[in-house]
């Protein structure tokens, strides 16, 4: 089994109202050196071994997990018990 850790982030240049709100809250807690916050998503997908795992993961991300209009993704594959 493989554990795929997928990170989905907003593309550069796409406004992130949620990140802005989190940034303001951090600043109101006196973390005055906070310059920017971007909120993304993290997913863990457990998969059976297969030859074209990379191709499959990319397809999953393009088809459903990420929206290519506004989001980028990256992932790592780990051995899972």
């Amino acid at each position: 089994m493989r554990k795929v850790k997928i990170y989905i982030t907003l593309k550069e240049g796409v406004l992130d109202p949620q990140g802005k709100a989190v940034q303001n809250s951090l600043q109101s807690l006196q973390y005055n050196n906070v310059q920017d916050v971007r909120v993304g998503k993290y997913m863990e997908v457990l998969l059976e071994e297969s030859e074209n795992l990379d191709e499959q993961i990319n397809r999953m991300c393009d088809q459903l997990l990420a929206n290519p209009v506004i989001e980028d993704y990256s992932y790592t594959i780990e051995e899972a018990g």
């Binding site: 406004l15 109202p17 929206n67 209009v69 506004i70």
Partner: protein
Amino acid sequence: MKFAVVVFPGSNCDRDMYHAVKDSLGAEADLVWYQEANLADYDAVLLPGGFSYGDYLRSGAMASTSPVIKQIREAAEAGKPVLGVCNGFQILLEMGLLPGAMLPNEHLKFMCHYETLTVENADTLFTTHYESKEKIRIPIAHGDGNYYCDEATYQQLRDNNQIVFTYDNNPNGSVGDIAGITNDKGNVLGMMPHPERAVEALLGHDDGLRLFQSILTHWREHYAINA
């Protein structure tokens, strides 16, 4: 003319939509469950607002992979009118029938009130009962209505007259004040404001009714000359 109102788990404006075309417009209509729908039997497809699949992952994302989507695509390709309102618009974006994507509202609030819209294109099959540049009052009700597309797409939308409605006082941060757009061919319309909630003058406004009347007029002129 027969309308299909596609009901997804989590749709909640389906009955308003049904009421608008069945009672206010006086056409035939069915509520069709997304797993049992046979859209070939219908002349137009309406995707109602709500929170399909609880807005999991992204608004409209899960619905955009369900089996009925293939039929919606076929209906669009056949030139049938396809209207997505609110969550229906989000589904049309997620399935790629319309360009762009939705972000959370600029100020992160769910908003539910009337907005003034300008009819930017009164030549689509959805808008012939409006005047060009007419101001109409239609309510909005959404949290993720901040329409986003890149500069090139925006230019394309403008060049092809695909921007049908704009907000006079942009409530959510949408690019170019966009409230509703069509596809290239003009038979698929997605809009965040709810025309089906403005179909009875007695209940406030009926500016939304003319959108449905436009669809019916188009159908009569193109498909029912002898009817």
